[in-house]
Structure formats: structure tokens, C-alpha cells
Amino acid sequence: MDIHEYQAKELFRQAGIPVPPGEVATTPEEAEAIAARLGGKVVVKAQVHTGGRGKAGGVKLADSAAEAKEHASRILGMEINGLTVGKVLVTPAEDIASEAYVGVLIDRKSQAPIFMVSPEGGVDIEEVARVNPEAIRKVSIDPRYGLLPHQAYSMATFLYEDPALVKQATKVIGQLYRAFSANSCSLAEINPLIVTPAGEVKAIDAKVSIDESALFRLPEVEAFRDLDAEPASETKAREASLSFVKLDGDVGCCVNGAGLAMATMDLVKYYGGEPANFLDIGGSSNPDKVVAALEIITADPSVKSILFNIFGGITRCDDVANGIVTAMKRIDIQVPIVIRLTGTNEEEALEILKGAGFEAYTSMDAVVEKAVQLAASA
């Protein structure tokens, strides 16, 4: 789960990292009032779960409260990478002597947290990795021991020469690791970590992703979830324990299993169509889930046809068939549905569907091809 910059900064503050003050506004007037309270120059920053805010015009410097209001009125409601800006962070503009990068994430290969630090901050770190890989130092953390003092110190010496800055950075690195562990992050990043002309090290941007699987024991972090920042369909899917991702096509897909769901989307494309979504109804056989899935898919006006691809293992095909029949009674579905069911209790399922007037397939290729045709001819 991605959280906003202002929320990430709150976690960093709790861990002791020096973060400039700042408040969130949802209206230009609030932004003006915050800027007035802070005094001096401020930065107005769009709070959206995507990178490239600066390039998109979502980050603006304001000399006065009035200018902050003006910027906020332009940024609020702006679309950045398909996401609408609903909040801005208003924070003092800092004078910057130098910018560094400090991040920690879970590394799949070493199966451990790994730090990446670079004296070249304030820019895209993947770009630095490509152009100037020696400017990045990676340090793997043994989860049995956690971050060791000499590792933090050694990374700090890679960022700075001045012992006073090294000392501050050592501390920040330790605090960042604490924030990362305490909040079960998959990523925690400060970019840039700045040095002010007065020699103070500060985190002026913050990016944090939380491991979804750990949220059950982090209620205060779960509360950071911004329902306005995601499509309503995804909120509904999560509440129904479905994995759902909205895509741009017109063939609605309802599949059990993430790998099969991706392969089904790919097959839609293979047969010349475009999938409208990724949807995994999971391993359970609960008919309510099928109903919720159909409600979510049919709420998307671009969907022209719907396909079910169910390989019954734990999931029982007859349960899914019952779910489809139930859903058809509850909701008024305007688009054609084609169904492929195979595996556990396949016979019973086909019987149920036949009784309700559905045509059912047993081959994945056949059902996908049919759904693509139906969408194309709609």
C-alpha cells in the first residue's frame, strides 16, 4: 500500500528523522492559511500515489500565502498519471546546499532489506543507477541482526566527507531503518536528503510503501489508506477480498488465481482484444464473491463482454456457477457473459448453468476468443 508524502513524513517524524513542518490542505483557502502560519516561502506539493509530480506541475514554490493559494487552486483537481490530486502538502521552502538519496527496500534476491544510498539525490535513482552506477552504494541488512552501527556509519561516509554531516546522516539512516521495520515497509525512501547552508541534514521528500500483508497488525498505518486516491471499484474489491486492478480495455475478466488471471488477460490480447481488468476471485468458493466481482466489472461502462475462466481445484465449479446465477438475479447485466469452468464439480456446474440458460465452455482459448468477438461486435 502506497501512502502519501505527508503520511510518510509523519512516520519519519515519529522515528526522529528531521523533517520540516507542514500541513495538508484540500482547498486553496486551507493552503493559504497554512502558508500564512508557516510564514516565508513555501512549497505546495500534490499528494498522489505516483512519481513525476514535479514534471507534471504538481510541485510549486510560493513566495507568499496568496501565491500558495493560487498554486493550490491549480494543483487541486489536476490529473497526474491518471490520478486526480485531492490534497496538497504545504511546507516551508528549504535552502539547499546539497541533495542525497537514502532508501531501503526488501530485496527479493538476498531475501533481506537492502539500503541504497547515493550522494546524487533529488533525481530519479533508477536513472542514476543506469548512468552512474558507482554513485550508488548498496548495503544488505541481515534481518537476524538488523542494521548494524558500522553499516549506517559507512553509508553516511559514502554520502558526506564532513564528520558533522556524517554524524547526522548516520543517525538518519538508523532512524529510517527503524521506521521501515516498525511499519513493515516494502520501501522507505528519502529523496532528497538535503544539507542546508547551515549544515543541517533534513528529509524534504518521503516515499513509503507498506507491506499489505502486515497491515492486520498495524491499525494506525492501515488508517493512512486514502480511499479517495483509488478507484471506487478497487475499494469495493478489497472489501470483498478480491484482487482487482482496473485496466483500459473492454473485455471484463473474472478468474480464480492470479497467474491464471494474468494469462487470461494476455490471451485476450493474443486474440486481438483488450482486457478491462485483472480480477482474481481467490481460492474460496463463496458465491457472494462472484456476485461482488460481477458488480464491480459491470459498474465499468467500457466493459462490452465478460468472461469467466475458472479452474476448479479448491474452488468448486458448482459454487461459482451458483454465484453467477445469483448475481444475474440481483443485478441487471447488459453485456454478454461467457463462461469456462473446469475441474472440481465441473459436471454439476455445467448442469446449473445450462438450467439458467448459459452457454459454458471447457477450453480457455475458446472462451477468450468468444469474449473478444462479443466485445468487438458490441
Binding site: 527479493r108 488465481g257 488477460m265
Partner: protein
């Protein structure tokens, strides 16, 4: 022959009295797996009656179960909050092969548990995996037995139902399997593609391998390079998620394209460069495997 499990495997089920654990224990026993013990804290001394009528003793701890029954394989169906602990318990009790079915284990828990299993010299499969099956001998996990049949193909996959799809197509085409292994869809897993490839390379009965990957990470690329450098039998590769958008998690915690790495196109390119036969859709897998075997 086979890899990891066979009819000699003595299986203990952690979480045997739970909904999933009891359902799949019935299935495993029906298939012929030698389930020798169950573990549910607080229910030690009771027993579990399988659908075949077999009485399986329940213990409070894996240690008790292993001491009493000599179990050497464990399969874990306990809820996510306790699953990493269950993995460490099994390793600590001396179980050699641990299959973790549970989905949704916190990643930081897994960094510790995976290291713990390594420290103890055991092998972990999963978590968030369907387990594995050696057709005609034993199944540990949740893969439906009826879609498999004994034969010369090793199957390795990050996915569950997609594996069933591919295995089912193989079986329907008359091509059997030595062992089908689901390695799991999480970012941190105990046994990866290369571990399975190495094991298959030592199994004289495995004449070809189907390797089914997904977007996210670079395990498939490394596996392809390992195949190029070490493996003599043919491998067919498939990657799910060719149409997945970057930065979005596609169901599996590990199925996410971050930065420039981990796209399906990238993985398929490396497959080709390393000499694998690349399947464009699931149905191609059985075709290419058939060609590789000269059928």
C-alpha cells in the same frame, strides 16, 4: 523418480483441524500421501479421521509429532499471522522439507523465517504456493490429483491455477509428469526456479521441463541463464502478465513490475536468448513440450 517428495515421504500437517488443513488432509490421504501426523496447539492427544478411515494422531507441537512419527515433510495451513512461526517451528523440530501454503505472510516475517530455515539446513517451499505433487506417489499441498499423471515432464511454476491449466493440458495430451512444483507467488520464497531445476537435473526420469513464470523480480532470467549453463534437457518457458501495467500488484504479492525490471517481455527475451522454447499462451506449453520430447 521424482524430486522433493515420493511415496516414502512422511507428512505432518500443521493446522490439520483448520478449514483448509482438514479439507486438504482428506485430499492428500485419498491421493495416497502418507500423512502420519497433524499438529494443532491445544488438541494434542486427539486424532483426525480421514475420509478413507485412516486415524491420524494430532500433537500439540511439531517436535512431539516428529518424535512420535518420524515425519520428515511438513505442510502448513495456519493463518498468516502465525505461519512464519510455524515454519520456524518445523525447521527447529528437524523437519527436512517444509511446504507453506499460507498466503499473506508479512514479508519481514519471511525474511527471518527464510533465514532460519537456511540456518537449520532445511528446505522451504513457498509460502503462498499450491505445494507439489509427484503423480502416482504423493501430493503435499493443494494441487488437484486428478489432473496429473505420471510421465517424463517436470513442471515448475510461480502460480496455482495456471499450473493446473498447463498440467491438465499435458495430461489430456497424454504427457505425464515426474513432479509438479508450485514455488509460490511471494517476493520471498524458500525454493526458487534454480533450486527446482537443479533437483530435476539429477532426476533421470525427467526428460523435459515446463517453467511457468510471472512478472516481477528477475528469478526467471537467472533461471534461464542457469539452464543455458547447466541443463541438458529441453525447457519450455511461459510468462504470465504480458499485459500487466507497471507498478500494480497483480494478485500475488510478488507479481509487480518495479522500475524497468521484471516485465514479461524482458523475461521472454532472456528465455529466448538462453535457448528455451517460449510459449506465447498456455496452450503452447503442451505443444512445445510434445515437440521437445519428439512426440
Amino acid at each position: 523418480m521424482s524430486i522433493f517428495i515420493d511415496r516414502q515421504s512422511r507428512v505432518v500437517v500443521q493446522g490439520i483441524t483448520g478449514r483448509d488443513g482438514s479439507f486438504h488432509t482428506h485430499q492428500m490421504v485419498e491421493y495416497g500421501t502418507d500423512v502420519v501426523a497433524g499438529v494443532t496447539p491445544g488438541k494434542g492427544g486427539q486424532s483426525f479421521t480421514s475420509s478413507t478411515g485412516k486415524e491420524i494422531p494430532i500433537f500439540n507441537t511439531v517436535e512431539d509429532a516428529r518424535e512420535a512419527t518420524g515425519a520428515n515433510v511438513s505442510v502448513i495451513y495456519v493463518p498468516p499471522a502465525f505461519a512464519a512461526g510455524a515454519i520456524m517451528e518445523a525447521a527447529d523440530a528437524g523437519v527436512e522439507f517444509i511446504v507453506a501454503i499460507t498466503e499473506g505472510i508479512p514479508v519481514l516475517d519471511m525474511t527471518r523465517a527464510a533465514g532460519f530455515v537456511r540456518d537449520r539446513g532445511a528446505r522451504l517451499l513457498g509460502p503462498n504456493c499450491p505445494g507439489l505433487i509427484t503423480p502416482g506417489q504423493a501430493k503435499v499441498g493443494i494441487i488437484p490429483g486428478q489432473i496429473t499423471t505420471p510421465g517424463p515432464v517436470g513442471v515448475i511454476s510461480r502460480s496455482g491455477t495456471l499450473t493446473y491449466e498447463a498440467v491438465n493440458q499435458l495430461t489430456q495430451a497424454g504427457i505425464g509428469q515426474t513432479t509438479c512444483v508450485g514455488i509460490g507467488g511471494d517476493p520471498i520464497i524458500g525454493t526458487n526456479f534454480i533450486d527446482c531445476l537443479e533437483a530435476f537435473s539429477k532426476d533421470p526420469d525427467t526428460k523435459a521441463i515446463a517453467m511457468i513464470g510471472e512478472i516481477g523480480g528477475t528469478d526467471e532470467q537467472e533461471a534461464a541463464e542457469w539452464i543455458r549453463d547447466h541443463l541438458e534437457i529441453p525447457v519450455v518457458g511461459f510468462i504470465a502478465g504480458q499485459t500487466a501495467p507497471p507498478g500494480r500488484q497483480m494478485g500475488h504479492a510478488g507479481a509487480i513490475i518495479s522500475g524497468s525490471a521484471g516485465t514479461a517481455a524482458e523475461k521472454m527475451k532472456v528465455f529466448e536468448a538462453c535457448g528455451l522454447a517460449v510459449a506465447k499462451r498456455p496452450a503452447d506449453i503442451r505443444v512445445l513440450i510434445g515437440e521437445a520430447l519428439g512426440l
